[in-house]
């Protein structure tokens, strides 16, 4: 899918079309006799290079939206166009392909694999995407680790790193496969204020390279760093504000 083999984290192809378009997307869970509408007709267009914050109380549907955008979950209704392709009804294997190649995840709890070193953690997405051989994967991982300033910890285990360092490694992991979009779920939720600033700076710097970042948070202060803030409530977009 990537049209550039040079080492850069530039976003994907077809920049003439929006990165993602959601039309009347619904997600309904059945809990006993009751139907819960986690997403209730969401319409949203995400452009390349956007820095989007999704705000909302718990149960507002922001996590569900992120799971659907991240190909972790299927919508029960509506249409999703990703990089110009209709991905509303694709198979589980195809969704795994998108996760491996076009999406990067950053989690609140970092979720680095404890038995793997920093380098191995960052190489992992490339093992699953099968896009390059080990030598190229290692070079790309080292470059990504350098980009987040963690080269001095290449062979350390996650348990030997501080919270802020772990999140920087997680960011390196999320961008190593040159995804079209990086989804960050409360990326600063487990960090102290000094590290919050650093991580946000790092995310903002990725935008310069053409990456698109979507951040889910319930911290207004954090959301203020984004260029576009979407507020959700009861599975609907309540406010869509550009700064």
């Amino acid at each position: 899918m990537t049209d550039s083999r040079s080492i850069s984290f530039a976003a994907g192809p077809r920049e003439s079309v929006p990165l993602a378009v959601l039309r009347d997307v619904r997600k309904t869970y059945v809990m006993g006799d009751e139907q819960v509408h986690a997403l209730d007709g969401v319409n949203l267009t995400i452009d390349h290079g956007d820095f989007l914050a999704i705000l909302g109380p718990s149960g507002s549907g922001k996590s569900t939206m992120m799971h659907i955008l991240g190909f972790m979950d299927k919508a029960t209704g509506g249409e999703i166009i990703f990089e110009g392709e209709d991905v509303s009804r694709i198979s589980a294997a195809r969704r795994a392909w998108y996760r491996a190649n076009r999406v990067g995840f950053i989690f609140q709890a970092f979720n680095l694999l404890p038995r793997l070193s920093v380098l191995e953690n960052v190489i992992l997405p490339m093992r699953y995407s099968r896009e390059c051989d080990m030598r190229e994967a290692t070079a790309r991982a080292e470059h990504a680790i350098e980009r987040v300033g963690m080269t001095h910890r290449l062979h350390h285990r996650p348990s030997q790193l501080s919270g802020g360092e772990r999140q920087r490694v997680a960011i390196a992991r999320s961008m190593v496969n040159r995804p079209g979009i990086i989804l960050a779920d409360e990326p600063t939720g487990n960090l102290d204020s000094k590290n919050v600033g650093r991580i946000l700076e790092l995310l903002e710097s990725l935008l310069v390279e053409g990456l698109t970042v979507i951040m889910v948070t319930h911290d207004l202060g954090v959301a203020e760093h984004a260029r576009r803030v979407i507020a959700m409530r009861d599975g609907k977009i309540q406010e869509d504000r550009r700064r």
Partner: protein, 420 residues
Amino acid sequence: MNFFAAINNGLRELWANKVRSLLSMSGIILGVAALIAMVTVVQSMMGGFRKFVELRGGIEKIQISKDDLPKEQEHLAGLSVGITVRDMKAIRVGAPLVRYISPEIRAGWEQITLPGRQVNTVVTGVGPDWVPVNKRELARGRFIADLDLLQKTCVAVLGAYTAEVLFPGNEEPVGKKLKIRGTTFTIVGVLAPVDPGGPPGRGSSGRGGISRWMNNGVYIPLDTAISRFTGNEVLSALNVSVGRAEDILHAVPQIENILLQTHDGLQDFRLETNEAMLADFQKTEASFTYSLGGVAGISLFVGAIGIMNVMLASINERIREIGVRKAIGARGSDIFFQFLAEAGVISFLGGVLGLGVSFGIILAMNSILAASIPDATTATVKPVIMLAGLLFSMGVGLLAGIYPAIRAAKLDPIEALRYE
């Protein structure tokens, strides 16, 4: 995720949980050890036994010996004389399926003297068929011939060990004279040594156990033994052999009928074939195979449960890891093969350790056997059995790993990531 990465991953997990992995391997270790030890020991026992039977004339041989009378004939015990030269002659005439007839008269444990040396050994009166019936060969000279029996000549053939003791070095025994109970005998031949197998250094020169007994002795013409030593025609053994092994079935009743006639209806004899011994042994082999195979089977089954259990526990501990892997692009099949590879690594290493344990078991069994039976054949593990044991353990491990791997592969990534 490629094959080597999956194996590497499996080794890493195993190393991270060393004790747990070792415990879960124990079933496989014991199973493989039992399996390999069983197959090896049974095979070498069988091989040893076939050799043993061959040394005793093969399955063409029938041993005829004196037996106790059945209950209904016990009052006639006084009439029983045993197996005699008359029986031998009757069989020669009346049993066409019998090819060789070898009567034996044990003259006794005698002192053999030569000028300047002496030895005590068994003196046996035999006929010319003794060689083919017992499947023996001559190292030098000739064996006792029909003419020796007819003329009651004083000739002797030495067993290999006896010859070695009486004529050390390169001294030629044939043509030399020796004395038994004052009678001078001329040595006309020396038997080739027999090697019943066993640990090296024991068998070939015939110094231990069975081989010593088989390579010992002095053989003289049957009629000479009767006239000079025993004075009667009662045989101490009568062995015959048939031309083809399948003739045994018909030769046995033929001989029984003849003996019933010569013994005036007294059932004071017994016919034994090596085939019966072989059949007995095959029964023993089967019982060994089933009992040890059962042990191996149960151990491997327990091993499989152990692996399944540890894999399920491992998956429960790593639900979050599975979620992360899926979130960054792992497909269900990637997760499936990752966990299957872990089960494969555990069972393979278990198999290797089991192989090591089986070597220990076989060594121990060999040393016990060697201590109790000096000429027992030692068991060695054949590479094909090792390979089979390893493949079997891996098969069991992979089979046991399938269900946990499917469970891991089917985990929902969102649920898995939420798991605390």
